[in-house]
Subunit: 578 residues, 2 copies
Amino acid sequence: MLKKLQNSSIKDCNRSELNVVCDELRRVVYETVMQCGGHLASNLGSVESTVALFYVFDFPNDKIVFDVGHQCYAYKILSGRLEQFSTLRKAGGISGFPKRNESVYDAYDTGHAGTSVSACIGLAKARDLLGEKRNVIAYIGDGSFNNGLVYEALSSLKILNTNILIILNDNGMSISPTVGGMYDILSEIKGNTQSENIRLLENFGLTYLGVKDGNDVDEMVDALTEAKSLLENGSVLLHIATKKGKGYEFSEEHPTNTHGVPPVGSPKDREYSEVLGECLCDLAQKNDKITVVSAAMKEALGLSEFFEKYPERAFDVGICEENASVLCASMATGGLKPYYAIYSTFLQRAFDEIIHDICAQDTAVTFCIDRAGISGADGETHQGVFDLSYLSLIPNLTIAVPKDTEELKAFMEFSETYTHPLAIRYPRAGKVLFDTPKTQIQVGKWEYLHRKDENKSAKVTVIATGERCLIIAMKVLQNLQKLGMDFDVVNARFVKPLDTELLRNLDSEYIVTLEDNVFLGGFGAMLDGVIMQSGKACKVKNFAYRDEFIPQGKIGDLQSEYGVNCKEIEEYLLEILQ
Amino acid sequence: MLKKLQNSSIKDCNRSELNVVCDELRRVVYETVMQCGGHLASNLGSVESTVALFYVFDFPNDKIVFDVGHQCYAYKILSGRLEQFSTLRKAGGISGFPKRNESVYDAYDTGHAGTSVSACIGLAKARDLLGEKRNVIAYIGDGSFNNGLVYEALSSLKILNTNILIILNDNGMSISPTVGGMYDILSEIKGNTQSENIRLLENFGLTYLGVKDGNDVDEMVDALTEAKSLLENGSVLLHIATKKGKGYEFSEEHPTNTHGVPPVGSPKDREYSEVLGECLCDLAQKNDKITVVSAAMKEALGLSEFFEKYPERAFDVGICEENASVLCASMATGGLKPYYAIYSTFLQRAFDEIIHDICAQDTAVTFCIDRAGISGADGETHQGVFDLSYLSLIPNLTIAVPKDTEELKAFMEFSETYTHPLAIRYPRAGKVLFDTPKTQIQVGKWEYLHRKDENKSAKVTVIATGERCLIIAMKVLQNLQKLGMDFDVVNARFVKPLDTELLRNLDSEYIVTLEDNVFLGGFGAMLDGVIMQSGKACKVKNFAYRDEFIPQGKIGDLQSEYGVNCKEIEEYLLEILQ
């Protein structure tokens, strides 16, 4: 059935056949995610509504924007990508998110939450001004619907005076269960179709249609047909209830665990998030001023235990990264000691608040930044490769990068009495523990992991920041030592401030920097500036990612391909050490 | 009366005396703003409610957060700062915004919109956890109330389960008239106290109280007394209607013109915003795909004429910088040619959307970034000194910096056919027109403003970006030429990409960079990186702002004090040229 659909339209199906299509889609999604990893639960939940969308609307002339984008698998398969779908999330393969450069069916790229309604208003306005005929549809989950950007978009709907369809896919979950004011409003509407809360939505210029069963393809076809006709007269919000993970028992019962799943058989490493969670619990036990804030990610960030043990000091505010930041700033000015755990890429959303609320007021907020550096299979929108750059430009902020999970513990201890903004960034997986004597963390102090001679600098000093880059440095050292060569290796565990004393005393001819971040504005670039301004006659060679958006792929492969290539580093060192 | 209050409490006044206090406050505010510049209309409008707040609440134990913060003058005067108030917005003087380091009465620093509700929730939660007794109050205008962050905060009120008072000061204006969904809702409530829309606010866990006359001090005392008692049982929203500019006829009639006013007698320069407005109108006339988006700042950005002439292509979405960005991205993907005009400091709010929506999709959005560089009297929260840094780290983005208003015209022409994201940044005032032959704008191509010898590099090349820095460069050149010295001066009109060809051909012994931006991640730092990686044996000296938040003061003074000091530059050049 699906194969057949590759060369024809789903509109040619009998309505009775649509359930067959759904079942097949669900199977392909499930099997592919088991092979390739990916977002399982949300994609299982959106199967029926997607099939109905194809039945009722005309893609790609009609345009759909998937909010976050992690529920577009069925859409991709139905829009001619069944054959390639087995390459999901692999280098050069099908993206797990909508990508305009992958298909004309993908109208707008997403990855972060809350952009779909704005995007549809813009697309619809373009349609109006260019005199085109098409429907524009936002497909958004209730978790995203709580994001402030959605509210800004809704507020502007009347101003831009255009017609869009918003499909609010309400499964009661973001990555964690959805919480908050709008969710309460939606819940009330779900339970009471005569609810006065519907008026709230109408105030924004939306005709409300719902609640429909989003997992019933027949009901979806009828609802979308009705929505389509209403759309001629104004914007419509179609509220559908779905079950995240629909159709696979394990996933239905454990939607949080199956939000994103790794391919079967992946090695399970000790993750930084686990260590973070333990540290926070330990700190909270002795210090009752410690609070933890999360933006809908508590499980993935290792915070579940903290939320259970200290519910009165643990706050999951939903996908509201900005609010989370200001809450931290104000809790700190009010005398608490807040920790804000978040993925690197999502912290971008709070950039202004980091400057304006947290750093300008020099508050004692600690950021625990997970998934820093290349994050792999989720691609462009999820790489955490900008944080060292966008954070280091901000006054008053200290940036720490642990070399391993043990050093994360040391930084967490350090953080408890630190009275300024502090960002600690680390990747997901901890792969090694470096065998070094435990040293006291001091602001802006680095450590040598290896010295050729304890009393003077080697000809070359490799300064690397973060576990991944230090592993590369030590591996290259091992290889070159076998050839009788040697160099110094420094763990730059603070990216800001740099260790100016160590740098002043260093008299290597060459410094080589390694980082899991873009070059521009990053660690190596900062060091270039310091060396250049110091007048030191030493040459600095920087290995960092070049100035491009980095697509999906394996982490190691992408590191190599985009600028932190072990072989190249070794060759460079070979040349200057020979 | 006011003088007397410096040593006693407003609570000692008879209620009948409060009107006298209001009149005196209004006079002091007006006279001070005429002398020092500042926000006039919003501060005149908030006089009565501020007096009533002091009458009913106990500051500084009770805490108040002013949203944006530009309506706190009466509060400052009443909290013991009458004597110093004549130093308003001057270097070392009273800030035009709340500043914790200025007074214990200032509970939380603000400057950007929408943070107050989050901040109060955090402060209130800190109070609860620390077992303190105090009231926490957000004072927010209806313009800010449209910002997505406020909505995120409201959504989290129940989650954090704490009690705050929100005073919604509804004057129907942000800087431009307030627009959008929530404003319509509030308007309806204002006209109908039995409105069902009140339920919307109650859904967020707020008891609604209103609408009260915010310019009637008696009514305000009663309303705040009621609010205070309600606050014991939950959060309260007190809706007050005020007249922006209340009490001064000119200001009441022209609230937009008097939102911020310069001191009387300031020179009136040709502003970049005027030129921008003309260029956009010219472009729109010949290209009907051009649209303009503004976030509540159309007058200050020079867009009034465009909004009048092309209302169907001009969109003011209120103080919603993120929504504005995504609208631009999607309009561009939909085939339009959007321009987004905004102040440098406020663009920070859209950082993630610039990356995720505009640049990752490589859309043809043009940012017109006004008030770039040091902006002066508004202080820390308004300096536009980070944009070169936070923009240059983003792939696909081109950054242009015109040397004068004529070059802005050239860039605007260039932008029309440019198909990638483009940021054009400039300060407010255009001071000079450089006398150079008109050259074609080519991406990443700089121009020499002066060469010692047309065929080879001088010993020193000064590379400056932006009008202010080029003025300094040319002034120093003039001075040194009188002493028989000479050097080359380059207009780095693109900060990204850098002119790698010019740099490759350049063989000066010294390069000196000047920029109106912080050093970290900025223009000079980028150049250091390029020179360092090229292996070129030339010395680069960077003049840029050091890593601190820059307070209020005169623009020229602050430039000098924070790192771009004409005298120091001259001394440095004298030394190496002698």
